[in-house]
Amino acid sequence: MRVLAAVLRKELRLELRTFESVPGMVLFGLTIFVVFHFGLERASVEGDLAAGILVVTLLFAGMLGLNRLYVADEEQGGFDGFLLAPVDRTWLFVAKATALFAYLVALEIVMVPAFALLLLEPGLGQALPELVLVLALTNAGFAIIAALVGAIAVRTRARDLLGPLIALPLLVPVVIAAAGLLEPLLREGGAGGLDAKWLAILGLYDLVFGLLSVAVFDPLLED
């Protein structure tokens, strides 16, 4: 755990110092809302359309996060510095996934109210606890895939393109489940409950890919 805390503390401090990821993700997200507004020519949305817009916007903002996740380590010797230490390498993956999870939470703190303000028809009040749970599971899915695929993509030539290209298809099940869960929450006539089936799928996805990533991460660091 000491290692996780050390790497995570360094990650968050580096982010606070350079503001590389979160501000960019927030601005990018808000811009996408505007684009959706003009693209769909809708002043307000609800139900499945609202769910779709929110999930897709978070997904693409997450892709920005993915592209920035390992850049500092690749360019400033972070990988070597970490490999020289007598620690289990999987902690780097856990720390990076947790860091991106934190960025996504920070992103959502700004974006969800903005979404309610700009586009969403029904208010958010009544469905907030369920919404937080769904977004948490979705963030976990994004963070796990981004931390794994980011490590694959960062040391290749076309990394800004390759990362999202690999991550997006992998995240389709998360998008399906998240949209399915959010749809009743954002419906006009008041919140429906959470669909257990989709909750199970999202939870299973996070669990399976979490364990899988931990198992296959180490070979990415050897040279």
Binding site: A6, L14, P86
Partner: protein, 228 residues
């Protein structure tokens, strides 16, 4: 008098190109091996292999009491690397960088401040590395390399772009103390200076060891011949 490093036919190839080929030597603990050779001769590759950062493609490597790459975990944390890349985050300060490495190596944070003063960075410790001069970065990197009191020190031209004051400040750190001698592998382009501090001299040319002998018996122009 155990041996710190044991190499037998060590080779490293990138596809067809052999960066290192057929290096064999045995270095007793506490002694200093100085590696000479033109750029691209494989000096840095050798250091990265010894530092467990690079897997050898042929031959066997035994460093301290671990056979690489299988037992790398055994020796990691007991080796200090000061390479061309300082391995420090430019946006963080020297103190923050060293604190991070201290936590990774489970080293008492107090040692960080102690080292920062030792290398003469006490005043600027909290400014980001990006504001440091080349010499100051090298001092911070040296402090990072010896932070965890390694048994084996790998130094890639440690005195490059260092002013005399900085070199003097780093000297005690990089040589270890008589009662706790440090095994060292140092690469150098300075035949005279290099031979002076060497116990064993190794000459590399295009990845092949063309010269391997106790430093006492090696003359400066033999080293010079490597570069012609």
């Amino acid at each position: 008098m155990t041996t710190a490093i044991e190499l037998a036919g060590l080779g490293r190839a990138y596809g067809e190109r052999a960066a290192l080929d057929g290096v064999s030597l045995s270095l007793p603990a506490g002694s200093t091996l100085v590696v000479f050779g033109p750029n691209g001769a494989g000096k840095s590759t050798l250091l990265r292999i010894l530092a467990t950062l690079l897997r050898p493609t042929t031959g066997t490597v035994r460093v301290l009491d671990g056979e690489l790459p299988r037992e790398a975990w055994k020796v990691r944390g007991r080796i200090g690397l000061l390479g061309h890349d300082p391995l420090l985050y430019r946006e963080l300060s020297a103190r923050e960088n060293l604190r991070y490495h201290a936590r990774l190596h489970a080293v008492d944070p107090a040692r960080v401040d102690e080292l920062l003063d030792a290398v003469g960075l006490g005043a600027r410790a909290d400014d980001p590395i990006s504001t440091y001069s080349r010499g100051m970065v090298q001092r911070a990197a040296a402090a990072r390399a010896v932070l965890h009191d390694p048994e084996l020190l790998l130094l890639d031209e440690p005195r490059a772009n260092l002013d005399p004051a900085a070199a003097a400040a780093l000297e005690p750190l990089l040589t270890g103390t008589p009662e706790r001698p440090r095994t060292r592998v140092v690469t150098s382009h300075d035949p005279a200076g290099g031979l002076a501090e060497a116990d064993v001299a190794l000459g590399l040319r295009a990845g092949r060891p063309v010269l391997l002998a106790p430093a006492a018996g090696v003359t400066v122009d033999q080293i010079g011949a490597l570069y012609r």
